[in-house]
Amino acid sequence: MPYVPHTPEDIRRMLGVIGAPSVASLFDEIPAELRPKSFDLPAGKSEMDVLAHLEALAKKNAVNHVSFLGAGFYDHHIPAAVDALSMRSEFYTAYTPYQPEASQGTLQAIFEYQTAVTRITGLAYANASVYDGGSALFEGAMMAVRHTGRRKLVVCEAVSPIYRVMLSSYTSNLHLELVTVPHKDGACDLAALTKALDADTAAVVVQNPNFFGTLHDFTALFAAARAAGVVSLISVYPVLQSVLKSPGEMGADVAVAEGQSLGLPLSFGGPYLGVMTCNKELVRQMPGRMVGRTVDTEGRTGYVLTLQAREQHIRRQKATSNICSNQALCALRALIHLCLLGQEGLTRTAETCIERAHYAAERLTAIDGVKLLSGDAPFGNEFAISLPVNAYKVIDKLSARGVVPGFPLGRYYQGLENVLLVACTEKTSTESIGIFAEMLRGALK
């Protein structure tokens, strides 16, 4: 039997020590009426056969298209050393570092991850990560609710709709009020956001770049929030944060991110990485694991899980969150990725992405009837273009010819049925942008 080492002789010996007549007898406590009505699973297969089956399934997925899909999830180059190092079994096959002396590898890596992400967001504290960027946003909002004792969340409509729908499911039983402030042609309406803040508001929730790719400086909004006792919560894109004004510089209280762009493959939606950072005022509201530095009995530096009095295994229903573990391996990958690229590598990556996107925008808007949705508003590696036809039509036509031209904003925004969201990364070649532009020109004729 695969992966079970016990021979019939071993089993006889073990049963002898236990004093049980048979393996079946060990299950005698399960009453007859609870026994399975069926257990109709396929017979086991060899490793070779299972792999062949999965290879056949993998081939049914079209992954060789030229793709301009982003929507918050980006296809970046992952250095080979990220896989090689993160796959080391000492990291890979360990569990949560409950025994710190035997887990210094995992613990120091998380500590370094916490350091790296705080440097990126410019806020002082981080946790060891949560499931994904959407969970991070919800948990950030709950930090604000606990911190302020208020129950209203003012959310910019240009925050990813993928996260806003998660936020509304999670908060539905918690008697929280979600106020959504409409975007203006893909830009955040800063005046309306500021106006929406009041004495009942726990947090103002924004994103940079926003879902449309548009860039903002939220400094004035965050100052107004602070004056009103409102927590400023921002979701960011870590790669672009190497060049963009940081949440810390804008005066944010909590900054979260989807960490997928840091060394994690797209993998059809996960596993990803929820990055969470905050300032000192909010650190005790942080959910999940956190690693701190300390010393051992000999005075040597070491690392432990800390501030555990916030957590469910101690506080049970009074914990800051129900979250138990983190995405340790994904956090490790992100850290290794950031170390391999370094400041210069990440900056070059961001600049290449932005440069390609600006080139693409120039090529695409040179086509008759194609315009940038947000006009002159600055954007990073992603931008929205309005087309003279329904975006789905273009997607259908082009994807049949090997180009996935972007994401149809009409899926989430009424009135934007003709708008396509186009993303570039450093992997997007200028040639493929040219092919896309020519195909689009042809499709719109």
Binding site: F27, L57, K59, F91, T96
Partner: protein, 483 residues
């Protein structure tokens, strides 16, 4: 060992892309750019490789060390599942692809993996339907309780409470609270749920009860049929915490036994690597009456054999994940189930229970085993005898002494209802030689501690660090290299 940031040398080249022609300052208004550099380190590729290779050597993992961490099912994770999950046909697949009309045809293989995995889990658990969206066990719990809440709301039931036995994982009450419920703590009797105690707290305001079966003491809940009947009488739902599913595959099906909701921990029962604390996957299964409330989207199969995502479920709790859950994780669980097949899963359960009972017998008498009866896949021992004796050796000391001998420690001080608890879960993948050597070493540790308590109290001595000052960590809050 220095942090990676301390090893940075200005100007040293890492894995850099070609420098673009234009800088951010050429492309964007100055007001949108960072003033202060993020200060990520400058390291060569070898600097990074050496740092993380050395760090890895300061860790125990299942591949190198027996890891009998109770409640965590640290079984061996077959390597071929990594090969499957690394296929570019999966890793390169963008998650929004199926949201483009007609583009479902571009990801049929991935949708089939999802559909088939759900079908297999339904059969393993006897549930009507599964969602793969929850990204960890605790996330599955929250999803499950949200589904329960949606059911009651839809029926117009006024329910405010969830019952959790005192042996429950801490995540159970925490998840119930985050879903908006008041938590009622239920004391156990003889290590299991007592129907008389349950009767005292059960009324119309109870939305449901969260059970782990076998429970965290490794004991089967023999009153289960009675409990199911009692809950049904007040239209309360029964939740199954799947942390311990490795004990019952093919021996009991959650749905057949009367549970309405179940979450699984694929990283436990279905052998996906724990990764130092994640990523996991916590799929949720439901009985027929709860199907309408499952999260969206749901994968369906058309008559022509094509797969598609259906978002049209008006009673659904909505979205709990950005997409379809941790695809890269449940793909490995799918591969594992196919490899083992039905009989392989039954053998896994049987041998896990056999190994736990064998180890229990080997340690009985050396440690106190408070519930001395046949256990399931794990058992809880207690060091109360040692702690109370003149040597004052506690569960913590025994755990640290085990680390010194190259073993990961069992779970300690959990469940909370056993003093000086040591919770052992050997799993089915450890050989008899390993179990015997472990038992011999543990017996030797205890014998030595009786003569020389410091041998355990001063442990560990053979690891990169000795015991760490946790109070200082909490007080100083040095959570980054910059604080």
């Amino acid at each position: 060992m220095n942090t990676v940031f301390k090893k940075s040398t200005e100007g040293r080249e890492g894995v850099w892309p070609v420098k673009p022609e234009k800088s951010a300052a050429d492309l964007l208004p100055a007001g949108l750019l960072r003033g202060k550099s993020a200060g990520l380190p400058s390291l060569s590729e070898l600097d990074v490789v050496r740092h993380f290779t050395q760090l890895s050597k300061r860790n125990y993992g299942v591949d190198g060390n027996f890891y009998p961490l109770g409640s965590c099912t640290m079984k061996y994770n077959p390597k071929f599942t990594e090969t499957a999950a690394a296929l570019p046909g999966f890793t390169r697949l963008h998650p929004v692809l199926p949201q483009l009309k007609g583009a479902g045809r571009m990801c049929q293989g991935a949708l089939e993996v999802m559909y088939e995995t759900e079908q297999l889990l339904c059969e393993v658990c006897g549930m009507k339907a599964f969602t793969l969206h929850p990204m960890a066990g605790a996330h599955g719990e929250l999803t499950g309780v949200m589904i329960m809440a949606a059911y009651h709301k839809d029926k117009g039931n006024k329910k405010t409470k969830i019952i959790c036995p005192d042996s429950a994982h801490g995540t159970n009450p925490a998840s119930a609270a985050i879903a908006g419920y008041e938590v009622v703590n239920l004391p156990s009797k003889d290590g299991i749920v007592d129907p008389d105690e349950l009767a005292k707290v059960l009324d119309d305001s109870v939305a449901g009860m969260m059970m782990t079966c076998p429970n965290t003491l490794g004991l089967f809940e023999t009153n289960l049929p009675k409990i199911v009947e009692m809950l049904r009488s007040v239209d309360a739902l029964l939740y199954y915490d799947g942390a311990n599913l490795n004990a019952i595959m093919g021996k009991m099906r959650v749905g057949d036994a009367g549970f309405d909701v179940v979450h699984l921990n694929l990283h436990k029962t279905f052998a996906t690597p724990h990764g130092g604390g994640g990523p996991g996957a916590g799929p949720v299964g439901v009985s027929e009456r709860l199907v309408p409330y499952l999260p969206v989207s749901r994968v369906e199969k058309l008559e022509d054999g094509q797969f598609f995502l259906n978002y049209d479920f008006p009673k659904s709790i909505g979205y709990v994940a950005p997409f379809y859950g941790n695809f890269g994780v449940f793909l490995k669980a799918y591969a594992y189930i196919l490899r083992l097949g039905g009989n392989g899963l039954i053998r896994a359960t049987e041998n896990a229970v056999l190994a736990a009972n064998y180890l229990r017998k080997r340690l009985d008498g050396v440690l106190d085993v408070p519930y001395d009866r046949v256990c399931m896949h794990e058992f809880v021992a207690s060091a109360c005898k040692q702690a109370a004796s003149s040597c004052h050796v506690r569960a913590l000391d025994i755990a640290k002494a085990l680390l010194d001998r190259g073993y990961h420690a069992p779970t300690i001080y959990f469940p909370l209802i056993v003093k000086e608890a040591l919770m052992f879960e050997p799993t089915e993948t450890e050989s008899l030689d390993t179990l015997d050597q472990f038992a011999d070493d543990l017996i030797a540790i205890l014998a030595e501690a009786e003569i020389n308590p410091d041998s355990a109290i001063g442990a560990p001595r053979n690891l990169p660090v000795t015991r760490l000052d946790e109070t200082r960590a909490a007080r100083n809050m040095e959570l980054t290299d910059d604080l």
